[in-house]
């Protein structure tokens, strides 16, 4: 088991600095996620670790061993790809055995370990199937089994769930998290989906334009974003001038929709704001609505579903907010 150290990693494509001097330490056995919008450099960084992308500067170490100049096939990693990358010319068992055979594992051991790995991803008995006979979720399980079975030092996930439908995504991410924890392998996970990132990660590195924007545990980043970008990318938020809330200072503040409530539901001590309902969405367990304030700005509000209360667009409304949940942005 290994921790990962990335020091000063940089890579440009033409004039674009895809990864721009990243320093990062991932702990042994940690589930670490690179999160960010497309083009932020998260995939490039992952591919640097995997060995598919050369570094212009900096270095990467697994434990004490520097690996960034090793050929990719000698780095001892397990990688799971967005489009599964299951070899169509091999059976499920053939796919899972592929890395073992590359490592010259004895045939008897191969068979046993393949069966174990397939059982681990709930595909026991699927060994003789061909990839074209499997569903997307099953294919991704094969890919995961294939990456796990070689007991790599590091597991890399490159948006592994983005090709699956919404429900499957939610259950698979739980499984991945569980497997990783039970095996204790250090994992780096790339995604652009903040909910997914928050659900699986020990820590998240939020990336933008090739740089790390903020690194921390999911709740920490959510609750204490250090930048406007962090605040906006991690969930939904209201970015407003401090003065609009009647506060001191000239900067922007972030106020999460769930920190706002209707006047009637809020504790007495919370400050009040007046406005009118602009738009309502009943999403099931929660209801989202936008409120236009006197100065014309919009506030997004999220409350739990309340069947007896009807909010009609145009109706005047009074809001209250939790002053403790205001984050002042630099």
């Amino acid at each position: 088991m290994t921790g990962i150290v990335i020091a000063g990693a940089a890579r440009s494509f033409g004039t674009v600095r895809a990864v721009d001097g990243v320093n990062l330490t991932v702990g042994d056995g940690e589930f670490f996620t690179l999160l960010g919008p497309s083009g932020c450099g998260k995939t490039t960084l992952l591919r640097m670790i995997a060995g598919f992308c050369e570094l212009d500067a900096g270095e990467i170490r697994f434990g004490a061993k520097r690996i960034d100049q090793l050929p990719a096939h000698t780095r001892d990693i397990g990688m799971v790809f967005q489009n599964y990358a299951v070899f169509p010319n091999l059976t499920v068992a053939g796919n899972v055995a592929y890395g073992l055979k590359a490592r010259r594992v004895a045939a008897a051991d191969v068979a046993r370990r393949v069966d174990e790995a397939l059982a681990l991803v709930q595909l026991a008995g699927y060994g003789e199937r061909w990839p074209h006979q499997l569903s997307g979720g099953q294919l991704q399980r094969v890919a995961i089994a294939r990456a796990l079975v070689i007991r790599p030092q590091v597991l890399l996930f490159d948006e592994p769930l983005s090709n699956l439908d919404a429900r499957l995504r939610v259950s698979m991410r739980g499984e991945i998290r569980e497997l990783q924890k039970s095996l204790g392998i250090t994992a780096i996970y790339v995604t652009h989906d903040q909910e997914e990132a928050m659900s699986v990660s020990d820590r998240i590195a939020l990336m933008q334009s090739g740089r790390l924007e903020q690194v921390g545990a999911p709740a920490e980043i959510y609750r204490n974003p250090t930048s406007r970008f962090s605040a906006e990318f991690m969930g939904t938020t209201n970015l407003i001038e401090a003065q609009a809330l009647g506060r001191e200072g000239a900067g922007m503040v972030s106020l999460r929709p769930e920190a706002l409530r209707l006047d009637a539901d809020a504790p007495a001590g919370w400050p009040r704001l007046g406005g009118s309902v602009a738009h309502v969405e009943v999403l099931g367990p929660i209801t989202r609505f936008d409120v236009r304030l006197g100065d014309g700005s919009l506030l997004k509000v999220a409350t739990l579903d309340e069947p007896h209360r009807a909010l009609a667009p145009g109706a005047p409304v009074t809001l209250a907010y939790d002053p403790a949940r205001i984050t002042v942005l630099p």
Binding site: A50, G51, F52, C53, E54, L55, D56, Q69, L70, P71, A72, H73, T74, R75, D76, I77, G78, M79, F81, Q82, N83, A85, V86, F87, P88, N89, Y98, G99, A102, R103, W130, H132, A143, R146, A147, I150, L156
Partner: protein, 551 residues
């Protein structure tokens, strides 16, 4: 400073280096020698353009250029004219026996075109069998000799080059595009003209280009049918191996001009295609259109008529090979004597043909597939350069490349003339562009993450190439192999310059037999070639079918 060569680029770089070495030695160097022969004076010392001035100053050779280009354009045009409706019918209309039509359509490629021309003369010449029969009914028609006959033979033998890609393109058209047009109020007919046809134009042009280049470099058909119309490839051949006055500098001039013409056409086509690439992501083939009985009958008749007409010379040769020839003279009696005579002489030409075609097709695969890998997986100026050089043989006529080989490898440190490998090498170089094209097409469809998955699991890039890419490409590689094999087995224009002694091929036997008046031997050799080349094609179809069923 980091490592000079990033490790993930070492394999492509190594392949590229080998590719440059191979093509440099066996393509650029011979071509350079052809070119330098054309710009040197009589003593081979001083640089001069006098040879060009001399050749182009002669109305005879200017006429040859005009004739060749005019025939090429006309044949390309007629080929497209008959192939596009044919392709549309096969892709979109209910025509019975489609599989059979497609299989039959590929058959003319098996027969060397000069043999087709010979058959056409026997059938439609001034004293041809069909001509005389028609005359007995009082029907006469113009001479088969000259431009008309050449265009006819080209059209009948080369139309699959346009038909097959165009049919594939019609099948790949996303039907929702058509539906969109119709929902906007366009009639089906207008939709065909304004939406569907423009989408398949690149495929039509790509096929048309192949036809055009074939006509420029073809030597057998005008040799038989041109009568006294000067044609470029024939004149180049005569200047080089002419009995009376071999003239390498003039032959070099013609060779360079031929390359210039074909390169120009190739560039124009690239230019045109790069500005209009219509990718349509069709998930499934568009449905067969519902049409009235009249149109259905018309389409069926048309398809079958074209495919059978194109096979007439083919069948004529097979029938003739079983008829009695007394010396060169044909008598209408059944006989197996042609075959006995053919094989009594020697089975070597047959074995040579099989061996050369197999070796060269292997060579083409071994050279073309790795180059395609570099070209598709590496994005660098070097990869583009390799692509351009590997496409160059497209533009080089067989005669010209063969001449370059003889000039280059007749003496010095590498002597190849007189042996079998010179032919294998020339065939390999000539067919490399086809392998690169077809392999690139397959590689574009293989997700690079499969390779990365394999590498991350511990296989080196080279092992990954062998264990993942090659198996995935195998179907395509195999069908490319067979097609290359077939076209090499019927090659004449380079062979006739290069063969020597015991290394005669079946096509050379045909050519020589027709020379010496041995029509019987020639047709027997042609029939033999047909049989041995149809076998691998049949095998291929079975393999591909089984392959498609298993995946």
């Amino acid at each position: 400073m980091r490592l000079a060569i990033p490790h993930q680029q070492r394999l492509p770089l190594a392949i590229a280096a080998l590719g440059f070495l191979f093509l440099g030695l066996f393509l650029l160097y011979p071509l350079f020698n052809v070119f330098s022969a054309s710009v040197l004076d009589g003593e081979g010392e001083k640089f001069t353009f006098a040879n060009y001035v001399k050749i182009l100053g002669r109305p005879f050779y200017r006429g040859a250029v005009v004739n060749t280009l005019a025939i090429g354009v006309a044949a390309t045009f007629t080929t497209i004219l008959i192939s596009v409706p044919f392709a549309f019918a096969l892709a979109r209309l209910p025509v019975p026996g489609k599989a059979a039509i497609i299989a039959l359509a590929a058959m003319p490629l098996v027969l060397p075109s000069f043999v087709s021309a010979y058959a056409i003369v026997l059938l439609l010449g001034r004293a041809g069998i069909v001509t005389q029969w028609l005359q007995s009914w009082g029907i006469g028609f113009g001479s088969i000799y000259g431009a008309g006959g050449i265009i006819l033979v080209y059209t009948l033998t080369l139309y699959p080059y346009v038909l097959l890609p165009t049919m594939a393109a019609f099948k790949a058209v996303d039907v929702s595009v058509e539906e969109a047009a119709q929902s906007l109020g366009s009639s089906p007919r207008r939709t065909l003209w304004t939406v569907t046809l423009p989408i398949v134009i690149p495929a039509i042009l790509a096929g048309g280009l192949l036809v055009f280049i074939e006509t420029l470099e073809n030597f057998g058909v005008p040799f038989v049918l041109a009568e006294d119309m000067p044609i470029f490839a024939v004149e180049a051949f005569k200047l080089f191996v002419g009995e009376t006055a071999p003239n390498p500098s003039s032959a070099g001039v013609l060779g360079v001009l031929l390359i210039a013409m074909t390169s120009l056409v190739l560039l124009i086509q690239r230019r045109f295609l790069s500005s209009r690439r219509f990718a349509t992501g069709a998930r499934s083939a568009p449905p067969i259109l519902r049409v009235g009985l009249g149109l259905r009958l018309l389409a069926t008749t048309y398809c079958w008529a074209v495919v059978l007409l194109a096979l007439v010379p083919f069948f004529a040769i097979v029938v003739l090979s079983f008829m009695e020839f007394r010396g060169p003279v044909l008598h209408p009696n059944f006989s197996l004597a042609n075959f006995t005579a053919l094989f009594e002489r020697s089975t070597r030409p047959l074995l040579n043909t099989l061996m050369f075609a197999t070796l060269a097709a292997l060579g083409v695969t071994l050279v073309g597939v790795p180059i395609a890998y570099v070209v598709t997986r590496m994005r660098s100026a070097m990869a583009s350069l390799l692509d351009v050089i590997a496409t160059l043989p497209f533009a080089v006529a067989g005669t010209v490349l063969a001449i370059g080989f003889v000039v280059s490898f007749n003496s010095g440190w590498l002597i190849l003339t007189g042996g079998p490998f010179i032919m294998v090498l020339v065939y390999t170089v000539r067919k490399v562009p086809f392998a690169v094209r077809s392999s690139s097409a397959i590689l574009h469809q293989i997700d690079p993450s499969l390779e990365e998955a394999s590498i991350s699991l511990g296989r080196s890039p080279l092992q990954t190439f062998g264990r993942i890419l090659v198996p995935l490409m195998l179907g395509g590689i195999l069908s490319g192999f067979v097609l290359t094999w077939v076209t090499i087995a019927s090659e004449l224009s380079a062979t006739v310059v290069l063969y020597s002694g015991q290394w005669r091929t079946l096509t050379v036997v045909m050519f020589q037999a027709l020379e010496g008046g041995g029509g019987g031997i020639a047709t027997a050799a042609a029939s033999t070639l047909i049989i041995v080349t149809l076998l691998p094609i049949a095998m291929l179809y079975r393999l591909v079918r089984r392959y498609e069923l298993s995946t």
